[in-house]
């Protein structure tokens, strides 16, 4: 019976709404007081039933919920035969709850989209050698699974046979097809765009990267900040207190009407729901944009940020040396590039790799008489030509003449922080390349955005030499930059900022060798392509190592923190206005109180929903 009433709450709400309408219409058109009174009595009894059941269940587990306040108030209204108030209050309360549920679902929609990407079934290899479709929960580590074109990869695994390209948007946020072949790792929740692969399951269910992301986001939404815990504690004593106050008022004034009005006015609705709603919508927006925010404490700290400390390599820069600038001298450059590539192909020096990548397709020739000059480079003969590849000192040793333009180019390249690769053919300089770890495209603009959002200090810490660090720092316009720092120096530096200068500090790193700094900073931000370490140790994860999400993340947390404050303000403001109205004027009664309350709850939910559409301007 209880269950039946609760499950037909929506039906009850509409019936009692109709009854109230019928009552009022008959009163106004036919002046029939009998129909009016009876329809309102039925409406209030119907409406009060589910509320009373909920109140009873709450009291059973020692919770004085809003339902308890409303049930007593309606009961009181019945006693003084004010059926009009009883009916309207129950209807508004139920209808409000219905609207809240609908709108709350909207605020949670972003997360729902994420969880709906979870795979549900898998084609599993059975003992008889056939693939059979099973639920994803039935897949164990070590099972062999078949993934067909268009299907979701059900677990984290390794490709056994076949090849294809996979869209990893659900893990990285980037929908570029990634090629997979024997031995490649594939991730649950990604989609096989073409091809057919067989995989062996390495991790299943909640242990997969995707499972962890979902769990993290779900936990983040329910994690509570200090302020929220305070509100919870407050609400716990607040409702019983309202009950006691109403009782005292009744004893003193003998005015039931006044006492039950206080009960309704005291409902803490908007206050309890306001902050979580902002939180959920903010985290949902982040998840949609490749930013994982771990809870509301993180949001509150992040929004008050003073200083961001960056790791250099792999964070502000690409993390891989590449040819940034080049100059060619004289004729037959294609031939010279071919010789250069042939020599560099035999070296495993990082600079050689960058040079080879830059040259790309070319004709390779046999390299003979290779001589490695320590601290200089390589001298060898190719196709009967003498080739020298290395730095300026090697050129000097090989008596390669450097004209004025070449000298100027060298000076310019060096000043820009390049390591130099020169190549001479038969004693004549042909190629000059400047190799460096380039700054990620767009980082400069992103840093500017961060400054505009109110970050005071942008600091770079790096293991590189101070010269290279200074060049990058100048180019990016950083506040400070320190080189020659070991991981423990970095974390000590961050500790100093937090403890001695009292700043709120975020550290942005790649999440692998920076974990001490990430853990120590007020907000640890990992630029992780969905790696486990990054997800676990940090407070914020930027998916797919996308630096450009950082300004959005900061803007979003600021908007979310603001939104929470607005909601608290609205909630408290409404209670104060209603109480003042009750004490100093005549316009406040039970129905109006309930109407205003329900309206304020909807207002805070709608206000929270704005965050779902937040975009950094």
């Amino acid at each position: 019976m209880q269950r039946y009433i609760l499950s037909s709450k929506n039906k009850i709400t509409s019936i009692s709404g109709v009854l109230i309408a019928v009552g009022f219409i008959s009163k106004w058109t036919m002046g029939s007081m009998d129909v009016f009174v009876w329809s309102l009595i039925i409406a209030s009894i119907l409406g009060a039933a589910p509320i009373a059941i909920q109140a009873y269940q709450a009291l059973k587990v020692k919770v004085v919920s809003i339902d308890v306040l409303v049930t007593i108030a309606v009961g009181g209204a019945f006693l003084i035969q004010n059926y009009e108030e009883a009916a309207i209050v129950t209807f508004l309360f139920l209808f409000g709850a219905f609207l809240e549920q609908r709108t709350l679902n909207k605020t949670r929609s972003a997360i729902k989209e994420l969880t709906e990407m979870a795979p549900e079934s898998a084609l599993k290899l059975m003992d008889d050698g056939e693939f059979v479709e099973v639920e994803v929960d039935e897949v164990d580590v070590g099972d062999v699974l078949l993934v067909k074109t268009g299907a979701k990869v059900p677990v984290d695994g390794t490709v056994l046979t076949g090849e294809g390209s996979v869209n990893e948007a659900s893990i990285t946020g980037e929908s570029i097809p990634v090629k997979k072949e024997k031995g490649s790792n594939v991730f649950a929740g990604t989609i096989l765009d073409n091809g057919t692969i067989q995989i062996i399951a390495d991790r299943v269910g909640e242990d997969t990267t995707f499972g962890k992301i979902i769990e993290l986001v779900e936990e983040a939404q329910d994690s509570k900040s200090e302020a929220e815990r305070f509100i919870d504690r407050f609400a716990k004593y607040y409702t019983p207190a309202v009950l006691v106050i109403a009782f005292i008022v009744w004893i003193l004034s003998r005015d039931i009407e006044l006492a039950i009005t206080i009960l309704v006015l005291g409902c803490p609705g908007a206050l309890v729901i306001g902050v979580p709603v902002s939180n959920v919508a903010g985290i949902g927006n982040g998840a949609r944009n490749g930013i994982l925010l771990k809870g509301s404490e993180v949001i509150s700290d992040f929004s008050r940020l003073d200083t961001i400390v960056f790791d250099k390599t792999g964070t502000l820069t690409v993390g891989k040396p590449s040819v940034a600038e080049k100059e060619y001298y004289g004729d037959n450059i294609d031939e010279a590039l071919g010789y250069l590539a042939s020599v560099e192909r035999e070296s495993d020096h990082p600079l050689a790799k960058a040079v080879l990548e830059e040259i790309g397709e070319t004709t390779f020739s046999t390299v003979e008489n290779t001589e490695v000059v320590k601290g200089g480079g390589i001298v060898a003969s190719v196709n009967g030509h003498k080739i020298a590849v290395g730095n300026a000192a090697l050129m000097e040793r090989e008596n390669v003449k450097l004209d004025e333009k070449a000298r100027a180019d060298i000076a310019r390249f060096e000043k820009a922080g390049n390591s130099l690769v020169l190549a001479a053919v038969d004693g004549e300089l042909k190629v000059l390349m400047g190799v460096r770890d380039r700054i990620r495209p767009g980082v400069k603009e992103d840093l500017l955005r961060l400054k505009k959002l109110g970050v005071k200090n942008l600091i770079m810490l790096s293991g590189d030499n101070q010269g290279t660090v200074d060049v990058v720092s100048r180019e990016l316009g950083l506040t400070e930059a320190h080189g020659n720092m070991l991981p423990e120096d970095k974390s000590a530096y961050i500790k100093k900022l937090i403890e001695e200068k009292g700043q709120i500090v975020a550290f942005v790193g790649d999440g692998v060798n920076d974990s001490p700094s990430i853990a120590l900073a007020n907000i640890g931000i990992a630029m992780g392509g969905g790696t486990d370490v990054a997800i676990e140790t940090s407070d914020v994860v930027l998916m797919n190592s996308d630096f450009s999400r950082l300004p959005h993340a900061l803007g979003l947390t600021k908007a979310t923190a603001r939104n929470m404050k607005q909601n608290i303000f609205i909630a408290l403001g409404v209670v104060l206005v209603l109480l003042a109205g009750l004490l100093f004027s005549e316009w406040v009664n039970m129905s109006i109180g309930m109407l205003v309350h329900e309206a304020s709850i909807l207002v805070v939910i709608l206000n929270g929903m704005r965050l779902l559409r937040y975009k950094l301007r």
């Binding site: 209880q2 269950r3 609760l6 499950s7 059941i53 909920q54 269940q57 709450a58 059973k60 587990v61 020692k62 919770v63 919920s65 809003i66 339902d67 709850a97 809240e100 549920q101 709350l104 679902n105 949670r108 997360i111 969880t115 929960d137 779900e218 936990e219 939404q221 329910d222 919870d232 609400a235 309890v272 729901i273 979580p276 959920v280």
Partner: protein, 75 residues
């Protein structure tokens, strides 16, 4: 000891959580310290002793409060 993850219909009020939490903690065989209800994802996680209480009993205690169980997973 087994651990269960129970997906509920969407929870709308924070006090629903308290009710469900109270009801589950009062069941014999449910490890009180592990009961965790997340409001926004509407999920319940708990450990229980399958000799003392079954997953069906746990589900029906939630049902009795008026909340539907959509899916439950026991490991």
């Amino acid at each position: 000891m087994k651990s269960a993850t129970i997906q509920l219909e969407t929870l709308a009020c924070p006090s629903c959580m308290l009710k469900i939490e109270g009801a589950l903690k009062s069941l014999d065989g449910v490890d009180k310290d592990t009961v965790k209800i997340s409001f926004n994802s509407s999920k319940v996680k708990l450990d229980f002793d399958e000799d003392k209480v079954s997953i069906d009993e746990i589900e029906s205690s939630i049902n009795k409060l008026g909340y539907d169980v959509i899916k439950s997973k026991v490991k």
